[in-house]
Protein backbone atom coordinates (compact mmCIF):
# COMPACT_ATOMS: atom_id res chain seq x y z
CA UNK A 1 0.00 0.00 0.00
CA UNK A 2 1.35 3.42 -0.97
CA UNK A 3 1.41 5.74 2.05
CA UNK A 4 1.03 9.49 1.71
CA UNK A 5 1.96 11.78 4.59
CA UNK A 6 -0.89 14.21 5.25
CA UNK A 7 0.68 17.32 6.86
CA UNK A 8 -2.04 17.11 9.56
CA UNK A 9 -2.76 13.39 10.05
CA UNK A 10 0.54 11.76 9.18
CA UNK A 11 0.95 8.65 7.03
CA UNK A 12 -2.27 7.32 5.56
CA UNK A 13 -3.14 4.92 2.75
CA UNK A 14 -3.27 6.31 -0.76
CA UNK A 15 -6.94 5.27 -1.02
CA UNK A 16 -7.88 8.06 1.43
CA UNK A 17 -6.59 10.78 -0.93
CA UNK A 18 -7.66 12.54 -4.11
CA UNK A 19 -5.33 14.13 -6.63
CA UNK A 20 -5.87 17.81 -7.45
CA UNK A 21 -3.48 18.68 -10.27
CA UNK A 22 -0.32 20.75 -10.42
CA UNK A 23 0.46 22.93 -7.39
CA UNK A 24 1.41 26.57 -7.24
CA UNK A 25 -0.69 27.92 -10.10
CA UNK A 26 -1.85 31.40 -9.07
CA UNK A 27 -4.88 33.03 -10.62
CA UNK A 28 -3.75 36.13 -12.56
CA UNK A 29 -4.41 39.32 -10.61
CA UNK A 30 -5.77 41.19 -13.64
CA UNK A 31 -7.49 38.71 -15.99
CA UNK A 32 -8.80 41.60 -18.16
CA UNK A 33 -5.30 42.53 -19.29
CA UNK A 34 -4.36 39.01 -20.39
CA UNK A 35 -4.16 37.88 -24.00
CA UNK A 36 -6.13 34.77 -24.98
CA UNK A 37 -2.88 32.83 -25.11
CA UNK A 38 -1.92 33.92 -21.58
CA UNK A 39 -5.39 33.05 -20.26
CA UNK A 40 -5.28 29.65 -21.97
CA UNK A 41 -1.86 29.07 -20.45
CA UNK A 42 -3.25 29.75 -16.97
CA UNK A 43 -6.33 27.59 -17.52
CA UNK A 44 -5.01 24.61 -19.43
CA UNK A 45 -1.26 24.33 -19.77
CA UNK A 46 0.46 22.08 -17.21
CA UNK A 47 4.04 20.89 -16.83
CA UNK A 48 3.69 17.06 -16.99
CA UNK A 49 7.36 16.36 -16.17
CA UNK A 50 9.09 13.00 -16.06
CA UNK A 51 10.44 13.14 -12.52
CA UNK A 52 9.69 15.38 -9.54
CA UNK A 53 6.36 17.18 -9.77
CA UNK A 54 4.68 19.54 -7.27
CA UNK A 55 1.02 18.67 -6.85
CA UNK A 56 -2.12 19.39 -4.85
CA UNK A 57 -3.67 16.53 -2.92
CA UNK A 58 -6.77 16.32 -0.74
CA UNK A 59 -7.08 14.02 2.28
CA UNK A 60 -10.63 13.15 1.22
CA UNK A 61 -11.43 10.36 3.68
CA UNK A 62 -9.53 11.98 6.55
CA UNK A 63 -9.25 15.62 7.56
CA UNK A 64 -10.48 16.78 4.11
CA UNK A 65 -7.72 19.42 3.84
CA UNK A 66 -5.82 20.32 0.67
CA UNK A 67 -2.04 20.21 0.85
CA UNK A 68 0.97 20.28 -1.42
CA UNK A 69 3.06 17.28 -2.31
CA UNK A 70 6.14 16.58 -4.35
CA UNK A 71 5.98 13.26 -6.17
CA UNK A 72 8.23 11.51 -8.61
CA UNK A 73 6.10 10.68 -11.65
CA UNK A 74 8.43 7.82 -12.58
CA UNK A 75 8.67 6.00 -9.24
CA UNK A 76 5.40 7.29 -7.70
CA UNK A 77 7.42 8.05 -4.56
CA UNK A 78 6.25 11.03 -2.47
CA UNK A 79 9.36 12.94 -1.51
CA UNK A 80 7.74 15.58 0.75
CA UNK A 81 4.39 17.16 1.63
CA UNK A 82 3.58 20.54 3.13
CA UNK A 83 0.61 22.65 4.17
CA UNK A 84 -1.06 25.17 1.89
CA UNK A 85 0.42 28.63 2.46
CA UNK A 86 3.66 27.26 3.89
CA UNK A 87 6.98 26.69 2.17
CA UNK A 88 8.19 23.11 1.61
CA UNK A 89 10.89 21.89 3.93
CA UNK A 90 14.36 22.30 2.52
CA UNK A 91 15.05 18.59 2.88
CA UNK A 92 13.16 15.67 1.39
CA UNK A 93 11.62 12.86 3.51
CA UNK A 94 12.96 10.36 1.01
CA UNK A 95 14.93 10.63 -2.18
CA UNK A 96 13.05 10.14 -5.39
Amino acid sequence: MLLIKCPWCGNRAESEFNYGGEAGIARPANPDTLTDAEWADYLFMRKNPKGLHQEQWNHAQGCRRWFNAERDTVTYRFTRTWRIGEAPSSTRDVDS
Binding site: E16, Q61, C63
Partner: protein, 201 residues
Amino acid sequence: MSDSLKRHHCLEPFSEDSATIGSSASAEPAIRVTFDGHREFYNLRGDPADAAFTDAVKSFTGQSIPDKANTLSYRECTTCWLGPDEWLVVYPSFEAGRFEKFSTELDSTDATAVDVSHGYIVLCLSGDSALDLLAKGCTLDLHLSSFNVGDCVQTGIARTAAIIANIAEGDHYEVIVRRTFAEYLAIWMRHAGAEFGIGFD
Protein backbone atom coordinates in the same frame (compact mmCIF):
# COMPACT_ATOMS: atom_id res chain seq x y z
CA MET B 1 -51.78 17.85 20.93
CA SER B 2 -49.74 14.71 21.32
CA ASP B 3 -48.33 14.07 24.78
CA SER B 4 -45.04 12.69 23.60
CA LEU B 5 -43.52 11.33 20.42
CA LYS B 6 -41.23 8.33 20.41
CA ARG B 7 -37.95 9.08 18.68
CA HIS B 8 -36.88 6.55 16.06
CA HIS B 9 -33.72 6.00 14.07
CA CYS B 10 -32.88 4.35 10.77
CA LEU B 11 -31.27 1.17 12.12
CA GLU B 12 -34.13 -0.03 14.29
CA PRO B 13 -35.41 -2.42 11.58
CA PHE B 14 -31.87 -3.77 11.21
CA SER B 15 -31.62 -4.61 14.93
CA GLU B 16 -34.92 -6.45 14.82
CA ASP B 17 -33.83 -8.54 11.82
CA SER B 18 -30.34 -9.42 13.05
CA ALA B 19 -29.87 -12.15 15.59
CA THR B 20 -26.41 -13.10 16.75
CA ILE B 21 -24.37 -14.27 13.76
CA GLY B 22 -21.31 -16.49 13.66
CA SER B 23 -19.64 -19.49 15.17
CA SER B 24 -20.28 -18.59 18.78
CA ALA B 25 -23.99 -17.98 18.32
CA SER B 26 -24.93 -19.77 21.52
CA ALA B 27 -22.37 -17.97 23.69
CA GLU B 28 -21.80 -14.24 24.15
CA PRO B 29 -20.52 -13.00 20.76
CA ALA B 30 -16.98 -11.64 20.49
CA ILE B 31 -18.36 -8.37 19.13
CA ARG B 32 -21.48 -6.58 20.26
CA VAL B 33 -22.89 -3.63 18.30
CA THR B 34 -25.44 -1.20 19.63
CA PHE B 35 -26.90 1.69 17.63
CA ASP B 36 -27.25 5.14 19.09
CA GLY B 37 -29.38 7.31 16.83
CA HIS B 38 -30.37 9.94 19.37
CA ARG B 39 -27.25 12.00 19.92
CA GLU B 40 -26.72 15.63 19.07
CA PHE B 41 -23.93 16.60 16.69
CA TYR B 42 -22.63 20.12 16.12
CA ASN B 43 -20.10 20.86 13.42
CA LEU B 44 -17.83 23.61 14.69
CA ARG B 45 -15.57 25.84 12.59
CA GLY B 46 -13.23 28.40 14.11
CA ASP B 47 -9.66 29.55 14.54
CA PRO B 48 -7.97 27.68 17.44
CA ALA B 49 -5.66 30.69 17.91
CA ASP B 50 -8.67 32.94 18.60
CA ALA B 51 -9.12 33.05 22.39
CA ALA B 52 -12.66 34.46 22.13
CA PHE B 53 -13.67 31.35 20.21
CA THR B 54 -11.85 28.76 22.35
CA ASP B 55 -13.05 30.42 25.58
CA ALA B 56 -16.65 30.48 24.37
CA VAL B 57 -16.55 26.78 23.52
CA LYS B 58 -14.86 25.94 26.80
CA SER B 59 -17.38 27.86 28.88
CA PHE B 60 -20.26 26.12 27.12
CA THR B 61 -18.99 22.54 26.86
CA GLY B 62 -16.84 22.61 30.00
CA GLN B 63 -13.77 21.38 28.14
CA SER B 64 -11.06 22.68 25.86
CA ILE B 65 -11.25 21.88 22.17
CA PRO B 66 -8.56 19.36 21.23
CA ASP B 67 -5.83 21.09 19.23
CA LYS B 68 -3.86 17.93 18.49
CA ALA B 69 -4.82 16.24 15.23
CA ASN B 70 -6.89 13.06 15.48
CA THR B 71 -7.67 13.33 19.18
CA LEU B 72 -10.81 14.04 21.19
CA SER B 73 -11.70 15.56 24.54
CA TYR B 74 -14.42 14.01 26.63
CA ARG B 75 -16.53 15.15 29.56
CA GLU B 76 -20.26 15.93 29.28
CA CYS B 77 -19.84 15.81 25.54
CA THR B 78 -17.22 14.52 23.14
CA THR B 79 -15.31 16.99 20.98
CA CYS B 80 -13.57 15.32 18.07
CA TRP B 81 -10.80 16.95 16.03
CA LEU B 82 -11.85 16.91 12.38
CA GLY B 83 -9.39 19.40 10.93
CA PRO B 84 -7.14 22.30 11.95
CA ASP B 85 -10.20 24.57 12.15
CA GLU B 86 -13.00 22.04 12.47
CA TRP B 87 -14.45 19.89 15.26
CA LEU B 88 -17.46 17.68 15.89
CA VAL B 89 -19.18 18.22 19.24
CA VAL B 90 -21.26 15.19 20.27
CA TYR B 91 -23.79 15.25 23.09
CA PRO B 92 -25.07 11.88 24.35
CA SER B 93 -28.73 12.86 24.12
CA PHE B 94 -30.98 15.52 22.68
CA GLU B 95 -31.84 18.57 24.76
CA ALA B 96 -34.29 21.14 23.45
CA GLY B 97 -32.74 24.59 23.09
CA ARG B 98 -29.14 23.52 23.69
CA PHE B 99 -27.97 24.20 20.16
CA GLU B 100 -29.59 27.65 20.15
CA LYS B 101 -27.72 28.48 23.35
CA PHE B 102 -24.45 27.22 21.92
CA SER B 103 -24.97 29.18 18.74
CA THR B 104 -25.71 32.36 20.71
CA GLU B 105 -22.53 31.79 22.71
CA LEU B 106 -20.55 32.01 19.46
CA ASP B 107 -22.36 35.12 18.17
CA SER B 108 -19.62 37.48 19.27
CA THR B 109 -16.88 35.40 17.62
CA ASP B 110 -15.92 34.60 14.02
CA ALA B 111 -16.74 30.93 14.57
CA THR B 112 -19.76 28.99 13.36
CA ALA B 113 -21.65 25.98 14.64
CA VAL B 114 -24.06 23.95 12.54
CA ASP B 115 -26.49 21.43 13.99
CA VAL B 116 -25.86 18.25 11.98
CA SER B 117 -27.66 15.85 14.36
CA HIS B 118 -29.95 14.62 11.59
CA GLY B 119 -26.94 13.47 9.54
CA TYR B 120 -25.15 11.04 11.82
CA ILE B 121 -25.68 7.85 13.78
CA VAL B 122 -23.28 6.00 16.08
CA LEU B 123 -22.43 2.31 15.96
CA CYS B 124 -20.99 1.39 19.36
CA LEU B 125 -18.71 -1.64 19.18
CA SER B 126 -17.46 -3.61 22.13
CA GLY B 127 -15.73 -6.91 22.68
CA ASP B 128 -12.37 -8.60 22.20
CA SER B 129 -12.59 -8.70 18.42
CA ALA B 130 -14.08 -5.24 17.82
CA LEU B 131 -10.77 -3.85 16.54
CA ASP B 132 -10.17 -6.94 14.40
CA LEU B 133 -13.47 -6.27 12.69
CA LEU B 134 -12.63 -2.59 12.04
CA ALA B 135 -9.17 -3.58 10.83
CA LYS B 136 -10.76 -5.76 8.15
CA GLY B 137 -12.40 -2.72 6.62
CA CYS B 138 -9.89 0.09 7.02
CA THR B 139 -6.26 0.73 6.23
CA LEU B 140 -5.26 2.30 9.55
CA ASP B 141 -2.98 0.70 12.10
CA LEU B 142 -5.35 0.18 15.02
CA HIS B 143 -2.76 -1.52 17.22
CA LEU B 144 -2.41 -0.21 20.78
CA SER B 145 0.95 1.32 19.85
CA SER B 146 -0.77 3.82 17.57
CA PHE B 147 -4.46 3.93 18.57
CA ASN B 148 -5.35 4.68 22.19
CA VAL B 149 -8.06 6.11 24.42
CA GLY B 150 -8.52 9.74 23.41
CA ASP B 151 -7.74 9.11 19.76
CA CYS B 152 -10.30 9.70 17.07
CA VAL B 153 -9.65 9.16 13.39
CA GLN B 154 -11.51 9.87 10.23
CA THR B 155 -11.01 7.15 7.68
CA GLY B 156 -12.79 4.86 5.28
CA ILE B 157 -14.34 1.65 6.61
CA ALA B 158 -15.41 -0.68 3.81
CA ARG B 159 -15.38 2.40 1.49
CA THR B 160 -17.66 4.37 3.85
CA ALA B 161 -16.30 7.60 5.34
CA ALA B 162 -16.47 7.27 9.12
CA ILE B 163 -15.01 8.54 12.37
CA ILE B 164 -13.63 5.96 14.81
CA ALA B 165 -13.55 7.32 18.36
CA ASN B 166 -11.59 5.51 21.06
CA ILE B 167 -13.47 6.86 24.05
CA ALA B 168 -12.97 4.45 26.93
CA GLU B 169 -10.58 1.91 28.42
CA GLY B 170 -11.37 -1.62 27.40
CA ASP B 171 -12.63 -2.65 24.03
CA HIS B 172 -15.16 0.10 23.40
CA TYR B 173 -15.17 2.01 20.14
CA GLU B 174 -17.65 4.33 18.54
CA VAL B 175 -18.06 4.51 14.79
CA ILE B 176 -19.74 7.76 13.76
CA VAL B 177 -21.19 7.47 10.29
CA ARG B 178 -23.66 9.25 8.05
CA ARG B 179 -27.15 7.88 8.44
CA THR B 180 -27.56 7.15 4.75
CA PHE B 181 -24.51 4.84 4.86
CA ALA B 182 -25.29 3.30 8.25
CA GLU B 183 -27.37 0.39 7.05
CA TYR B 184 -24.76 -0.54 4.45
CA LEU B 185 -22.02 -0.43 7.10
CA ALA B 186 -24.11 -2.49 9.54
CA ILE B 187 -24.69 -5.12 6.83
CA TRP B 188 -20.97 -5.15 6.11
CA MET B 189 -20.27 -5.63 9.83
CA ARG B 190 -22.76 -8.49 9.98
CA HIS B 191 -20.87 -10.31 7.23
CA ALA B 192 -17.33 -9.31 8.20
CA GLY B 193 -18.00 -10.05 11.88
CA ALA B 194 -19.42 -13.55 11.34
CA GLU B 195 -16.01 -15.18 11.72
CA PHE B 196 -15.67 -13.71 15.23
CA GLY B 197 -19.31 -13.95 16.26
CA ILE B 198 -21.26 -10.69 16.25
CA GLY B 199 -24.50 -9.61 17.89
CA PHE B 200 -26.64 -6.53 17.29
CA ASP B 201 -28.83 -4.86 19.90
